[in-house]
Amino acid sequence: MAANRDVLLGLVEEFVSGQQDSKAAETATGVKTGQFTVLELVEALGLSLTSPEPQTRGRGVQLLSLVLQECYANLSESEVEVLIAFYENRLKDHYAITPHVLQGINALTKCTLPSGLSISILRSLFQDVHVQSLMLKERSCVYNILINLMASQEEELKGLGADFVFGFVQAMDGERDPRNLLLAFQIAHSIIYRGYELGKFTEELFEVTSCYFPIDFTPPPNDPHGITQEDLIMSLRAVLTGTPRFAEYLLPLIIEKIDSDVQSAKLDSLQTLTACTAVYTHKDLAEFLSGLWTSLRREVFQTASEKVETASLSSLKALAACLSRSVQKSDSDDALQSFLDLVLTDCKHHLCEPDLKLVWPSAKILQAVASASYRASHKITGAVVPVLLEQYKNSTQCAQRRTLLEVVQGFVQPVQSSLPGEGDESVLSGFQEPLCSLVFSALCESSTGLQVTATRVLTALGQQPGLLSVPDVELAADHLTRLVLEEEESEVCSAVLECSGSLARLFPTAFVSKMIPKLKEEIFSEPMEQGESNAPKQAHSQQAVRQRCLKTLAAVSSKASVAQESAPILLEVLSSAHSGSCSFSLEEVVSACHSLQRIAAQAQDTEDVGRFFHDIIIPRLLGLAVQAALHGEGEGARNSPLTEESVLFSLVLVMSTACGRLQSQLAILTASRAVSLFLDGDVSFLPENDLPSPLQLLKKQSEAWRQSQLVCLLMACVCSMPRSVEIPQIDRLFCELEELSCTCTHPFAYTSAAKCFAGLVNKRPGGEELDSMLERTMKRISSELDCASSSFRVQAFTLLLWVTKALLIRYHPLSTVLTDKLFSLLKDSELSGAAANGFSLIMSDTEDVLNRACHADLRIMYRQRFFTENSAKLFQGFNSAEKDRKSGYLKALSHIVNHLPRQVQITELPALLPLLLEALSCTEQGVQLSTLSCLHPILTDPPPALTPHLDSLVSHLLALTTSTVMNVRIASLRCLHALSRLPEHMLLPFRARVIRALAVPLDDKKRLVRKEAVLARAEWFLLGSPGR
C-alpha cells in the first residue's frame, strides 16, 4: 500500500509541479483499477490544495476534477458528500480555480446524489458564481450542471420554488454563444414543460429568452459545431410557445416583429404565432386578437412574398382553430364568433367590389379561416357563398365570372380539418341548388377558364355527400357528354375527362344511362361523305371526337358496372374494324385498345373486372386476332387492321395488363387455354371457333407470318402471370419458341418469340433444369452466330439479347457469359451496331414484358450492378478495338451510362468522362444525343472530376450547337446552359469564346433551338458580372 501511496504522490507531484497533463489519465486509471481511492487522492493532493499559490491550488483541483470525470460512476455516497462539500467550499476560492471546480461539480452531478445535496450545490453556485463573467467553456459547464440536476433531482429542485428559476435567469442573462444558448434554451424548455414553479419570475424568464427573438444568426464559414440558425430558432420557439403564461408578453412581441422589414424575422414571428396557438386557449388570445388580425391581414394584402403570405394564412387558420377548440359553448361571448365577424367585416366587402382588386387575398384569408374547423367553415361559408353567388349573377365580364368561380371553388373544395362531424350536414347543403345551377351555367359558357373551373367545382360537390342529387348527377353527365362531343380545347377536354372519371366512380349508374349510350352512338356514326370543300377539316374533327369518346369510355370505367358496359363497345370497335362493317382508322383501333388497357389497369373492384376480362374480353380478343390472321392468308384478301404490328402491340398491352391482375384460379386457366391454343390448336374457348384445323400457330410457315406473329399474344398471356402460376407444357413451349425465334424470317414474329422465351426464362425457378435448357439454347445461338454465312444471325442475336436481359435482371449467374458474348459482338462487322443499341434495351424498361407489372423477377439495382461488373471490360474493349470499331463501344457506353441512376453517374464520372467526350465527337447522331443526355444531369451539379476536362467539354459542346440535327443542337445548348452553374472562376476563361460561339445558334432556323441559345447565352453573359 505504501508503494501505491508513493506512486500516487509521484503522479500528483508530476501533474501539479511538473505540469505533465498526461499524468491525469494515469491517475484516473489507477483509481479505476482500484490501485488507489479518490479519498486517497484528495489526501495526496493535501499540500497542493493548501498552497498559498492560487496556481498550485488550481492545478490540484484540476487533477481531482479530471480524475472525477473519468471515475464518477464508482463513488460511494459518502465520498460524493465529502467531495461536494470540498468543491462548494472551493467556489469561494480564487477565480482562477473556479473553472476546475465547475468541472468537478459537473462530474459529480452525474452521480446519484444524497438528498439535500443538489439544493446545496445550486445555492453555492447561484451565490458564489457570476456565470456571465466566466469563459465560454465554464458557462457551458454551469448549464450542464443544471441539466444534470434537472434530470435526476427534479423533486428536490422544485422544492426550491421560484428561486430556481430566478437563479437560472440570472445565470443565463447576457449569454451570447450559440452553443451555450442551445443549452440554456433546453433548460428553459424543461422548466416550462416539467412544471417548475415560475412564481413571480414568469416575466423574467420570458425576458431573458425572448430577447433573442427573432433569432438572427449566420454560422461562420466552416463552422465546426454545425449549429444552424434553424436549430436556434426551433429551440427558442419551443421555449416561447411552451406556456400560455407567456401569452401576454409573447403576443405583443409577435405583433411588433411581424412588422419587421427583415423577411426571416417576419416568417419566424408568424411561425411562432402558429406554434403557440397549439397550447393557448381563447382567453390567452382574446386581448390581442384585433391586433393580430390587423397585422396578419396587412401581410396577406400587401406582401410581395409567397412565403410570408402562406405563413400568414397558416397563422390565421391556427388562430381560428385555437378559438374553435377552446370555445365549446356558443354563447353571446363567443370569441370564435367575434373573431370571424372581424374577418368577415374586413374581407367580405372586397368580394363585392366591382373591380375585384382584393378578391384573391380576401378569399385566401376567408378560406384559411374557414378551413380551421367545421364551425368556422359553417359561419364563413354561410356568409360568403351567397355573396359570391350574387356577384357571379351580376357580373357581365367573363374574366370576372371566372375569378369568382375560382373563389367559389376554394370554398367548395372539401378540407379535412373542417369536414362535418357525425350528424352534422355539409356547410354547403343550404346552397346545393344555386351552386349546381351556377356550375351548369358555367359549363355552358364559351370560356375555357370558366368551363375548366366549373368541372372542378362539380368534382368537389360530388365528393361531399348530399350535395349532388340524382337528377343533378344525371344533368351533370349530360353536360359532360356534350362537352366530350363538342369541346376541342385540350385544357377543357382533360378537365372534363378528369371530372367524368371521378363522378362516375361515385355515381356509376348515371353515367351508364346518360353518357355511355351517347358515346357509343357517336363512335359508330359513319364519317360524312367526302367531297365538300371543308371535308378534310370535318373529317379531322370527327376523328378527334371519336378519339375523345374512346378515351372517355376508359376514364369513366373504374367501376365494374360501368366497365361491363363500356368494354363491349370497345370490343365492338375492334370487331367492326376487322370485319370492315364500320370504318375505323388504325389510330382509332389502337386508341380502343389503349382504352381497354386503361380499364383493365384502373379497375377498382379487381375481382369483378378480372372475371369479366377473363370470361369475355380476352377470349374475344384472341378470337378476333386469330381470325384476322387466318383471314389474311387468302389470296387478295382485305388486310384486317388486327394484323398490323401497331394494333398487335397494343393488344399485347391490354392482355398482359389484364392477365397480370387475374386471380390465381383464373390466371391458371387463362395460361393453360393460351398454351393449348398455341401448341395444340385448341380453339374451343374462343367465341367464334369455326376455324380451319389443325391450327399450328407456332410452327414456322414462311408464308403465314400473320399467324407466326400471334406469338406476341401468347407472350401477353403467359409472361404476365404471377411467378406462382405454373405454365403447362413449359418444355415444349421453350422448344417451339426457340425454334420459331431462330428460324422465322418475319422480324416482329421472331422478336416476339424471343421475348416470350425470355419472359418465361425470367420466371423459371433456378436449378439444373433451367441451366441445361439454357445451355442447349446458348449452344444453338453460338453456332448460329459463329457461322458467318448463316442467314439467321440476326435472329440468333435477338434471342441472345432478350435472354441476356431476362437473366441479368434476376441476377442469374449465367448472365455473365451471355453479356460477354454481347460485348464480343461489338467487334462483329455485321452486328456491332445492333449489339451497341442492344445495351439500351438491356438497361431500359420494356413496356410489354420483363417489367414489374408483368411480375418479372427484376432486381432494382441490376443496372448499377451491370455497370460495375462490366465497365472495365467496356473500357478495355474500347482501348483494344480497331479504330473503325471504337464507335460501337462508345455507343454502348453512352447507352449504359444514360440509364444509370444519377448518383452512380456522378461517382463513376472521373473514369467515364474521357470516353464520354470521345463519344461526343463520334459522328453518329444517336450516340451524340444519348451522350448529351447522360451529361446534362451531371452538369447541373458537376463533380470536381470535371475540371480537367472542361476545355475539351466546352469545345465539343460548342461544335455540336451547329449540328445538322435539331435535337443535338438543343441538347448541346442545354448542356452549355447547365455548365454555366459551375463556379465562376472555372468558367471565366471560356466566357468570351462561349458567348461568341452562341451568337451563331441565336440565328438558327428553328425557334426551339434559338430559345435554348438565348437562355444559355444570357447565363454566360451574367458570369463574372455584377448583379448575377
Binding site: 468570351a992 469564346r993 458567348i995 461568341r996
Partner: protein, 337 residues
C-alpha cells in the same frame, strides 16, 4: 464611269469584341486599332497578310475608344472610357505607356495631336475639351479646359496647318476653337445637324470641314470671310463657317465616321447600316457650288456597324475600316476619273 472598292485584306483584329477605331501612322506603314476588349493593337503588313506587330500591355481598365499617332510617328495616344488618356512610346522592341493624362471626370471619347506635335486635345462625356501642351522633356500640361458644349463631346480634330481645333458633340453642334490670351476659346458654333455629330474631317487644304451625324447626313462646312461684315454682330476674331453642302439620303442609319483622303480628295464614310461609302467631288463643283456624288457603296462591308474609316496618308486610295464585328478591312479604292 466605274469606280471600285475592293477588299485587299480582312482580319479579325479584336475577336470576341468590337473594334472601335483604327489610325494610320504618318508614314502609312502601321495601323493602330482599339476596341471593347480594352486592348490596343498595332498591325503591319507582312507579305500577303496583316500581322499584329504589337499588343500594347494592359494600360486601360475599360474600352479604348480612340487612338491617334503623333505627327512624328513615335508616339501613340489612346482615349479610354476609364477617364484617362495614355501616351505610348516605343522603348526597345516594345511599346510602353509613358504618361497617363488624368483629369476628365468620366469617359474620354477622343484624342488628337496638333500638326506641330506640341499640342494635344482630348474630349469627354463630361462636356469639356482639354488642350494639353507637350514640352521638350515630353511632359504634358493641361493649358486649357473649355466647357463650350452642353453635352457629351464625341470627337476632336486639329486643322491640318493652323492651330485651330474642332469638336463634335451629342448636343448636335460642331465647335471651333482658337487660342486667345493663353486660353483656348470657342470661336464658332456650327449648327445644322439634327442629332449627335459623331466625327469630323478636314479636307487636305483645311478650307473645308466634313461632319457626320446620327441624323444620317454628312455636312460640308466652309469658312466664310464675308460673314462678319454681313451680320456685323460678332467680334472680329470670331470665325464664320457655313454649311455649303449636305449629303442626305445616302445612309440608312447613323454615320459614325468620315475621312477625307489627303491625296485624292475622296470622302469615305462609316455607317451603322454596315456599309462603307466613298463620295467624290464633281468636276463642275466650284467655289460657289460644292457637289459630291456617291462613287462607291459597299452595302455589307462588315457584318455589323462600321465604326471607323481611315485613308492611308501616303498610299492613295487605300482605306481601312473597322466594325462592331471585330474585324478590320483594308480596301483599295479606284476611280475612273
Amino acid at each position: 464611269m466605274k469606280d471600285t472598292l475592293n477588299v485587299l485584306h480582312k482580319f479579325n483584329a479584336h475577336p470576341d469584341s468590337r473594334c472601335w477605331y483604327v489610325a494610320w501612322n504618318p508614314t502609312g506603314t502601321l495601323l493602330a486599332s482599339c476596341g471593347g476588349d480594352r486592348t490596343i493593337r498595332i498591325w503591319a503588313r507582312e507579305g500577303d497578310s496583316w500581322e499584329c506587330r504589337f499588343l500594347l500591355p494592359e494600360g486601360h481598365q475599360r474600352t479604348v475608344r480612340k487612338v491617334a499617332w503623333s505627327p512624328c510617328g513615335r508616339y501613340l495616344a489612346s482615349a479610354s472610357f476609364d477617364a484617362t488618356t495614355c501616351i505610348w512610346g516605343k522603348k526597345g522592341d516594345d511599346f510602353e505607356c509613358l504618361t497617363v493624362l488624368e483629369g476628365h471626370e468620366n469617359e474620354v471619347k477622343c484624342v488628337a495631336w496638333a500638326p506641330s506635335g506640341s499640342l494635344l486635345a482630348t474630349c469627354s462625356r463630361d462636356k469639356s475639351v482639354w488642350v494639353w501642351e507637350v514640352d521638350e522633356e515630353d511632359e504634358y500640361e493641361c493649358v486649357s479646359v473649355v466647357n463650350a458644349h452642353t453635352q457629351d463631346v464625341k470627337h476632336v480634330i486639329w486643322h491640318p496647318t493652323q492651330e485651330l481645333l474642332a469638336s463634335a458633340s451629342y448636343d448636335n453642334t460642331v465647335r471651333l476653337y482658337r487660342e486667345e490670351d493663353d486660353d483656348w476659346v470657342c470661336k464658332a458654333t456650327l449648327e445644322g445637324h439634327a442629332a449627335t455629330v459623331w466625327s469630323l474631317a478636314f479636307d487636305p487644304s483645311g478650307q473645308r470641314l466634313a461632319s457626320c451625324s446620327d441624323d444620317r447626313t454628312v455636312k460640308i462646312w466652309k469658312e466664310s470671310h464675308s460673314a462678319s461684315e454681313e451680320d456685323g454682330a460678332g467680334t472680329s476674331s470670331d470665325l464664320h463657317w457655313k454649311c455649303i453642302c449636305t449629303l442626305s439620303g445616302f445612309h440608312s442609319r447613323a454615320i459614325y465616321d468620315v475621312s477625307w483622303c489627303q491625296q485624292t480628295g475622296a470622302l469615305a464614310t462609316a455607317c451603322g447600316d454596315d456599309g462603307v461609302r466613298v463620295f467624290k467631288e464633281d468636276t463642275n463643283s466650284g467655289p460657289h457650288q460644292t457637289i459630291f456624288s456617291l462613287s462607291v457603296h459597299m452595302p455589307k462591308a462588315h457584318s455589323q456597324d462600321v465604326n471607323c474609316v481611315a485613308w492611308n496618308p501616303k498610299e492613295a486610295g487605300v482605306l481601312a475600316s473597322c466594325s462592331d464585328d471585330g474585324t478590320i478591312v483594308i480596301w483599295r479604292y479606284q476611280s475612273d476619273t
